[in-house]
Subunit: 250 residues, 2 copies
Amino acid sequence: MRHLSSSLPSDPSPVPHIFRRLLTSGLMEAEDVTAMMRLGWRTATLPARSSFDPGAGLALLDAGLMIRRGDTGQYLSLLVPGDPCSYAFITGNAPPGELRTVTDCRIMQIGPAEVLELVESRQGVLAALLSHMALDSAALEELLVSLSTRSALERTAHFLCELDFRLQRMGLAGDPRYFTSLTQAELGRYLGLSAVHVNRTLQELRRRGCLDRRGDHVVLDVDALKALASFEPGYLIGRRLEARAHRYDA
Amino acid sequence: MRHLSSSLPSDPSPVPHIFRRLLTSGLMEAEDVTAMMRLGWRTATLPARSSFDPGAGLALLDAGLMIRRGDTGQYLSLLVPGDPCSYAFITGNAPPGELRTVTDCRIMQIGPAEVLELVESRQGVLAALLSHMALDSAALEELLVSLSTRSALERTAHFLCELDFRLQRMGLAGDPRYFTSLTQAELGRYLGLSAVHVNRTLQELRRRGCLDRRGDHVVLDVDALKALASFEPGYLIGRRLEARAHRYDA
DNA sequence: CGCCAGTTTGATATAGGTCAAGTGACGTGG
DNA sequence: CCACGTCACTTGACCTATATCAAACTGGCG
């Protein structure tokens, strides 16, 4: 099931694929994008199962799957294309844990000096980045809720819903690699389950018809999964805060 | 054990108590503090077990204990004095979940307009706030690690170590209220355990001499707890990132 | 006095972990 | 081209940490 292909998907979209997630915040304008495109992005291509240090600049995952894991081996977050690899360049704190590629990955990065200039000249970009930082933190909380309140079956279903949603948003839902590249043991490290139990859980999902493999495709019955996991994607989108300045200045 | 006293501790320190945590970042200068002190802080006093909306401005917990909980009832974070109640004013996203007081609380807040002005005029303040945001996110990850890898006993010990550390940093370690105000059921909601099991776990800690009540004091054998939980406070302090600009600009 | 929230205790159930063994695909070196 | 090693996946047997349920106990408070 693994190693179906190691080539990376190509990118024919008019707005570079890579900025697609940042645009979902609704905070960036066309000009922000053109300003970003003008920067000297460097492309790094990493083989599967290698580690990556995002450094002090801005790094965006452009293709492939990555995970961030804690020192104890627990997986903390999963990165799909469009996701910033770390927010260290904003917070100034070293990112906790370590980034590792799951599949071959393409990463686009710019140095700290350029980020600084970009962010200072384009308010929308900063706002979008901050908003995404909050979103990624919310995703972490959702994982925490999964771990403490959901059963293995619900957790796994929830994970699949989330991954599907995030890929869909990036226009990548058709690519089965994103679903098949994680080892069952790795999935377990993310969901807080043993590899053996992940296996049995996936079987149960298959038995229920929520999940199937046709050839080298993966077929999800997303509606069934959503129902099973009570999946609510709100946390992946966020709610903007209206700045009710009057409230205090009255 | 509860309701020992509902009066709030007083604050005789030269630098206002409330800014103490922000100062731990090492990013703020004396001038930053005086600038903050000049602002029109409003004080809100909330009774125990009430909910609080931090709004779009900056709110700092000045005295008492609060928790933030998700929609499902899971507790996501615990706030002690000095902690910002939310970072919504930075990210622009509505804070996930809901803030509730555990004890009577005193909260200091300023409106969005003032925060904006402060943050634009004093770089150090913004840097400190961003750094703390990353730290709070790291604390969330540590809780996640607790839930997925530590036993009930270790988790509970770890929690006590963390709380002790954070209180110590604020000079509040002497106040037993911060340890006794959480119900066992609430502790369970935070640690992902049932109330019954929390009870048995606390008994086990007492049996081992890690924890004791002398009168209305709570005595922790912090060293024993640290050993039990392999507590490493690094995540509460963070590591600053040196901006290696040369790395990309060479 | 009696209520109520919190705590404690005991009995029982179960989700998920651990250990061990076996299968199948793939890649490598002889 | 085959033998072998490795790594993921699968299956079965067993175990245990923790949940759940139910009941009693406690201390403060109206």
